[in-house]
């Protein structure tokens, strides 16, 4: 009997509505040049890890997090668009670099209202920045719940 390579999934990083990357109001993300993934229009500001792994970096401003997953994926979680310009206002990191995280662990809290008040989009992007490791990936769109709903189904190469 043949064993099909195992299909795995990344779970939603926030509650809200998952949309294709192409709808993200930022060319670099929308074009897919930085990696494959999916975005969420968040309805709440609790941001969770989509996968088991280690926090590899957190921007000083707390708006972007990277997780190196136990199975070798490089994941970027970027809260809001152009939010680097807020200089940290509205972002509260709940983890530190080097922390081991499980799927669904809270990694940050974001004040969505503060982001909107600054005139910025709250669309939160989750990217796999080493898509060369993937045999396939299928975004799952629509209403999602953080740490519960599948957001990308993927299969690793080899």
């Amino acid at each position: 009997m043949f064993f099909s390579k195992k299909e795995k999934s990344l779970l939603a990083v926030a509650d809200g509505r998952a949309i294709p990357l192409s709808e993200v109001p930022d060319e670099a993300f929308a074009s897919g040049i930085l990696g494959v993934g999916v975005a969420i229009e968040p309805s709440g500001g609790t941001i969770c890890s989509p996968i088991d792994g280690v926090i590899e970096s957190i921007t000083e401003t707390g708006h972007a997090y990277t997780v190196h997953s136990d199975d070798g994926l490089d994941i970027l979680i970027h809260i809001g668009i152009d939010t680097v310009t807020l200089g940290g206002k509205g972002f509260l990191p709940m983890v530190k670099e080097g922390y081991k995280v499980k799927t669904g662990d809270v990694i940050a809290r974001a004040d969505l209202e503060a982001i909107r008040t600054a005139g910025l989009s709250t669309v939160t992007v989750m990217l796999i920045t080493n898509p060369e490791r993937l045999e396939k990936n299928e975004p799952q769109l629509g209403e999602v719940q953080s740490g519960k709903s599948e957001i990308i189904r993927y299969r690793l190469l080899k």
Partner: protein, 94 residues
């Protein structure tokens, strides 16, 4: 090995987008690309690794490029940095 330094001009430092653009650009080359800053060494082809340098506005990055296409890689990556982490040689291939 080819080496050059570049001082970050982006007022927001090495945040996600420039790090991602640099990693994507660097992946075009066979050479091994190391980026040194703040006493840390990053893999120039990995967004995550570049972001973990914690490089801010004014941080000096040292690029160490080793491999058979190191000459071309160093010249093109340096131009890429000096253009403000923008790909000015973009050619669409799809």
């Amino acid at each position: 090995m080819k080496q050059f330094t570049y001082c970050i001009e982006d007022p927001n430092g090495m945040h996600a987008r420039p790090a991602g653009m640099l990693a994507t650009f660097a992946k075009r080359f066979d050479s091994d690309i190391r980026v040194l800053a703040n006493g840390k060494t990053a893999d120039g082809k990995r967004l995550l690794s570049l972001m973990s340098l914690g490089a801010v506005h004014g941080t000096e990055l040292t690029f160490c490029i080793t491999g058979k296409d190191e000459e071309t890689a160093a010249a093109r990556i340096e131009s890429f940095c000096r253009a403000g982490m923008k790909d000015t040689e973009e050619k669409k291939e799809d």
